[in-house]
Subunit: 204 residues, 2 copies
């Protein structure tokens, strides 16, 4: 293995170990020594890649944002054009699945709500909010929203709901589930979707 | 001041100072010394009232649960009978107002989502969920819910939403607001409330 490849592997192992530590223990209590051990590297190697704890948190956040972008891009490609509301529903379900499986993505969301974590290290939660808002604006322009319903209001409801189930999922994983999100959309869609559309609250 | 009164005052000052510390710094990083200083008592006095950090967290949680009970009882008294959905909306608005003002209530919700905080110290979030569910069951029995809408599903949506805005409010207070909750109910009510009812999404 060439040197560069090994460096990338070490960096990724550190990001994953840090994500695990930050997510389980919180940013403040998580120990850098334990993180380097979990990644199978020396404490010196950790400091070579990430001179500070906040640099490590920032890298976790960057990787989480990258994974989130991958999720929404996949959903945008899969759903036929003209179905922005369905893309939004599908992306929410995919996000909840990935929050279950992907510790880096989960840590990104957790860190942003962690009172001990310094600000300014990036915002994966905010990125999600922006994408939700943009997608609902497209839905509005395409006449997918019921008259009088504000894309902005729906965006903030979807965002608050996402943060809610992600937060509850830290203690009890059953909250981050297909079922919980399907319920939300089943209740919400009659009030927000323009009539005559057939949307799958459970995802398409 | 008799001795007992002074003891109650000290205990309350410690609970308030601890709530502030746990809420701002997180359970793990919050220092008992800083808490005793903030309460204006010695470290010995703190340990006399609360032998462990988790005993202190448990007292904060107990006080938060007491404050939450006060909120729902006031709302139940104020709203005329037969209006369970309106009681639920009103209690949500009152909870959001109190989360803004009452550091003990806020800390109760925060502690339950704090990965560093030991479990089994009480559950104010869960208490809210139970009350929401009970109130929606009453609404269902009284025919206030649209046919086919499950009280249980609405309860989980309301609960997830509450946890969401409370979590977001830790970083940005504007999320815990009358406006954000009014938007939620405006979007949700058309899908869940039986026709012909006049409900105030902004609270009565």
């Amino acid at each position: 293995m060439v040197k560069q490849e090994r460096a990338v592997r070490t960096r990724n192992a550190l990001i994953e170990a840090a994500a695990d530590g930050f997510s389980h223990e919180g940013y403040g209590p998580a120990s850098l020594l334990a993180i380097s051990r979990r990644a199978g590297v020396t404490s010196g190697a950790l400091h070579f890649h990430f001179p500070t704890k906040s640099a490590l948190a920032s890298a976790v956040m960057g990787a989480a944002a990258q994974n989130l972008r991958g999720i929404v891009e996949r959903c945008e490609k899969q759903t036929p054009p003209g179905g922005s509301l369905q893309i939004l529903i599908d992306a929410g379900h995919e996000l909840s699945r990935q929050l279950e499986q992907d510790v880096v993505l989960r840590a990104g969301f957790d860190l942003e709500g962690d009172p001990g974590c310094p600000r300014g290290i990036g915002e994966v939660r905010h990125l999600w909010y922006q994408w939700v808002r943009g997608t609902l604006e497209s839905a509005d322009l395409a006449g997918e929203l019921r008259q009088g319903v504000s894309a902005d209001h729906v965006a903030s409801a979807v965002f608050v709901y996402t943060v809610g189930f992600q937060t509850l999922g830290r203690r009890d994983r059953t909250w981050v589930s297909h079922r919980v999100l399907t319920r939300f959309w089943s209740l919400m869609l009659p009030g927000i979707a323009a009539g005559g559309r057939s949307l799958a609250a459970a995802g398409s």
